[in-house]
């Protein structure tokens, strides 16, 4: 099989692209620092302005871009495999929106100021609630359409509650921040955000990555998978909490970034021979590439405007989603 031989090459290319985009992300910014100077500042022990910018502004931004992208790509691939639904992804299923709601409640009530871990934990709780609601509505045999409809309901509700929480905040700035929570941004994130979210994302990744073989078996349906030795309860636990932990933490520090988890697995699926287990590492790397690229573009296109990441991912992702609905519309019902 050609996919067999090409698979290591594909992973190597994606990894190389991720590294290249990570480095590029470090060199893009309003301060206009030359490439070599910026790389030197990153490793030197000087504490001048350039070093400060590189270490405290651009490095966390690039790290978060890569990690959040990997989270979205990986969780999209897992959700599609787990639900056997080509339209599943954290954004469309309302997981991102619910995580946003959790994060918003933690931040604007001041809970996260008193107890920093409350932020990722609240986002995780929101994400778990969304996955469980969508799954309960759709059931194990729920069609693609039901899952998406459930996702729309959860997204709308979580969005409205987020908006309500922000409107009720006595802080006049809060009301304007709905954009951040709905579209996502990495502007001026710091190492504090990396330390807060990275452990949750890593734990989530481990849980999701362990699902490779189960997802392969689920290709033939949940009952056949169970007859092949797959413990469905364990798979459900890992899929739900792995997604919730990683997407929750990602959303808690960067808002909801849509469509990455939808588009990336779809583009890569034919390249890995459609095998769900092989799609996982490829989608993680692909997601990192996409979010890093989007975050580089927002800084190049409109450096002064603080363009939201979700705007770019939606410009590419929404037409793609429509095309996908068009292509699969017969099997949706």
């Amino acid at each position: 099989m050609s996919a067999d031989r090409h698979y290591p090459l594909l992973l190597a290319l994606l990894a190389a692209a991720t590294v290249a985009l990570f480095l590029l992300s470090l060199t893009v910014g309003p301060a206009g620092i030359a490439f070599l100077e910026s790389m030197k500042a990153l490793v030197s022990d000087k504490a001048d302005g350039v070093a400060l910018i590189m270490r405290e502004i651009r490095l966390p931004r690039a790290i978060l871009g890569g990690m959040i992208g990997a989270t979205l790509g990986l969780s999209g691939a897992v959700l599609q495999g787990y639900l056997r639904n080509p339209l599943a992804e954290p954004g469309l299923l309302g997981i991102s929106a619910s995580a946003s709601l959790g994060a918003v409640l933690a931040i604007y009530t001041g809970l996260s100021a008193a107890f920093a871990l409350a932020l990722p934990l609240a986002a995780l709780t929101g994400a778990v609630a969304a996955v469980l609601v969508v799954q309960a509505l759709a059931g194990q045999r729920g069609g693609a359409l039901i899952v998406i409809l459930a996702g729309i309901a959860v997204t709308s509700f979580a969005g409205a509650m987020t908006s309500l929480a922000l409107n009720l905040s006595p802080n006049p700035f809060a009301a304007l921040e709905i954009m951040f929570w709905m579209l996502g941004s990495l502007t001026d994130r710091s190492m504090v955000h990396v330390w807060l979210s990275a452990p949750f994302m890593l734990v989530g990744w481990l849980m999701l990555a362990s699902l490779g073989r189960a997802l392969d078996a689920l290709t033939l349906g949940s009952e056949t998978a169970a007859s092949m030795g797959i413990e469905l309860r364990k798979v459900q636990f890992l899929a739900v909490f792995g997604t919730a932990a990683s997407v929750g933490a990602a959303t808690a520090v960067a808002g909801a970034i849509g469509f990455v988890g939808l588009v990336v697995p779809h583009i890569l699926r034919p390249l890995v021979g459609a095998r769900p287990s092989r799609l996982l590492p490829a989608s993680a790397l692909g997601g990192a590439c996409v979010v890093l690229t989007a975050d580089i573009l927002v800084r190049i296109i409109a450096p002064e405007r603080d363009l939201k990441l979700g705007v770019l991912t939606a410009i590419v992702g929404a037409p793609f989603f429509l095309w996908l609905v068009f292509r699969t519309r017969r099997s949706l019902l």
């Binding site: 073989r213 349906g221 009952e223 056949t224 007859s227 092949m228 797959i230 699926r269 459609a274």
Partner: protein, 260 residues
């Protein structure tokens, strides 16, 4: 060793009793046809044996209490060929069949030579070798059914449960599948297959279990289970009974009149 024994098995689906205190045992070398009208509980019986449904009663698989087995131990004893021929992704046929080996491989281990040999043999037996590199979702319904049957064979278990495996197959492949199950039985394995085609059931199975409204109403050799009386009472049909090459032939002819 008894491969499967079922005692007092009862199943309720949404407060509606579907199976009532069923009991039977499957010995090595049997090819059992599970027959009965629509809604008799054939699929429910197969699925409850596999622990896919909550059930009351005792089920023992390969000599062990099924309730005490984990999914992997169960998968080493029994393979399942589901009625829905679901293949969610555009994967190659070869990968689908190789999935049958997954319960036997630890962790992320790759296929061994032995695994490959079993996969190849399964594909050969189901006559799907010719399209091993084709995309499984692009196959016809019958081809897909054979690929999935090859997948179940590749699991290489003493017991195979198949839910309407012949549906959608052309006569040649129906007979080929019956022959295959027969040869598995000859190897000392056992097959329990739910069947709607009474002709196939009568001709190929070593034993039939007739279900009606959640109860076993007859269990034995085809000739003793399929009688004019039982077909009239359970299926409500009149049939033609004959014999060819020492095997019974049953062919439903018309609906039975209620009085007769």
């Amino acid at each position: 060793m008894t491969l499967l024994s079922v005692e007092n098995l009862s199943v309720e689906l949404g407060h509606r009793p579907v199976l009532h205190r069923l009991g039977f045992a499957v010995q090595p070398g049997e090819f059992i046809g599970l027959i009965g009208p629509n809604g008799a509980g054939k699929s429910t019986l197969l699925r409850s044996v596999l622990n896919l449904l909550p059930a009351q009663g005792q089920v023992r698989l390969c000599g062990t209490d099924a309730a005490a087995m984990n999914a992997r131990q169960r998968a080493a004893c029994v393979a399942y060929l589901a009625q829905e021929r679901e293949i969610a992704w555009a994967v190659p046929v070869e990968m689908v069949v190789a999935l049958g080996r997954s319960p036997h491989r630890p962790g992320f281990a790759a296929l061994t030579d032995k695994d490959r040999a079993i996969v190849d043999a399964a594909m050969r037996r189901m006559d799907v070798e010719a399209f091993r590199h084709r995309i499984a979702t692009e196959l016809s319904g019958g081809e897909k059914a054979r690929v999935l049957a090859a997948r179940a064979l590749a699991q290489d278990t003493p017991l195979l449960l198949a839910d309407e495996p012949t549906a959608g197959l052309d006569p040649a492949h129906q007979i080929a599948l019956m022959r295959l199950f027969d040869s598995l039985a000859a190897d000392g394995r056992s097959v329990v297959a739910s069947l709607h085609d009474l002709g196939l059931a009568a001709r190929w199975c070593s034993r039939l279990i007739l279900l009606d409204r959640g109860r076993i109403v007859a269990d034995g050799p085809p000739a003793s289970v399929l009688t004019p009386q039982s077909l009239r009472a359970i299926y409500g049909v009149e049939a033609w009974f004959g014999e060819a090459d020492g095997a019974p032939i049953v062919h439903p002819l018309d609906l039975a009149t209620p009085e007769s």
